[in-house]
Amino acid sequence: MNHTPYKDWLLSDDLLSAEQTKALQEHLRTCEVCQQLEPAWSDVHTLIQKTPLVQPIPGFTDRWQFRLIAHKMQKQRHLAWMLWGVCAGIALILLGIFSTQILEILDSPGSLILVWVSRLTGVLSLYWAAQNMLGAIVEYIPAITWFGMVLGIGMVSFLSVSWLAMVRRLTIARRLA
């Protein structure tokens, strides 16, 4: 037997129309499955309605506060372990990098010192060369050119800021309108 709309109607919380009620009553006269379903759902519904909300045993909030403290401590411990892990990782990486250097130092310390001294002198000579070049440029360019450059940069900056301010003002006015 086909129960399709009748089961839906039986289990629905909505009220049925007169036609639907009549059709359902006719179906119930002949269908044993729906005859059982109808009082069964009615009983279950009644049982749900008369079953109240259950509550936890007293002291729930206190227990929660203890648990919160434990939770925070666990988080701190977790963070500490993470930090320790990161530090240990960095230390391991550095150790890996320097282990080759250490081997080299142990192998021939004199040559390594020479390499590093030459690197340092190279950097220093680059710095001195740059300093000399800048000094020469400053001496070569006359004072009036410097003044003109500063004035030009100032003018361009002022115009840019004014343009930005104007654009912003115009946009805000439009938004308000």
């Binding site: 629905s12 759902w41 009983d43 509550q55 929660w64």
Partner: protein, 197 residues
């Protein structure tokens, strides 16, 4: 459902522990009830309710004031319980643990207490025949009077999915009831007026 002052929730969002304690105080019963109906025993329900409040505490800054707080909180509880059910894949009721429950006193006397206890057992046995999401939908619909929209929001489902799950759950509950009371229904095959009529 409980209506806590929005200021209390705002304070809790700012990190005030006192305000959050008020939230726990106010919502412990609905959260515990949902967890109990979902998991079937008071120990697991207590654990799940405590965990729900810890998760809410950790993520309360993400709560949108435009939404209902109870929907947001019960959504956390429902998702946690569904995960627990998936983990254990065992939803039957442990009857031995029921006496620890603090059931509100609706009447006095040992007989009334016995009937209340029986009803709780029956309900839990019925609910344990449902899947996690169907169970959550039934509890939210019948115990908390949540609308379809609220259930859909809480369980991350569409409204039509909620309606269909509720229909399926009612059918399953009624059939389980018939199976449990087979004697009664075979003896009493008489016509009743429909609940819907």
């Amino acid at each position: 459902m409980i209506n806590l002052e929005p200021e209390v929730i705002q304070e809790a969002q700012k990190g005030d522990p006192e305000a959050f304690t008020q939230v726990v105080e106010a919502y412990q019963r609905p959260v515990f009830n949902l967890c109990y109906r979902m998991l079937g025993n008071p120990e697991d329900a207590e654990d799940a309710a405590q965990e729900t409040f810890l998760r809410a505490y950790d993520h309360i800054r993400r709560y949108d004031q435009g939404r209902s707080f109870s929907t947001w909180l019960l959504s956390i509880a429902a998702h946690y319980c569904i995960d627990q059910l998936r983990k254990r894949r065992m939803t039957f009721l442990s009857i031995d643990t029921l006496p620890n429950l603090d059931i509100p006193d609706a009447g006095s006397g040992p007989e009334a207490a016995y009937h209340r206890h029986e009803d709780q057992q029956r309900i839990q046995t019925l609910l344990s025949s449902l899947g996690g999401q169907d169970r959550a939908a039934v509890v939210m619909y019948y115990w908390y009077d949540f609308s379809y929209e609220e259930i859909a929001e809480s369980l991350s489902l569409t409204i039509s999915a909620v309606k269909s799950r509720l229909h399926r759950a009612r059918l399953s509950l009624a059939q389980t009831w018939v199976d449990q009371n087979a004697m009664k229904y075979s003896a009493e095959r008489k016509h009743h007026e429909s609940h819907a009529i």
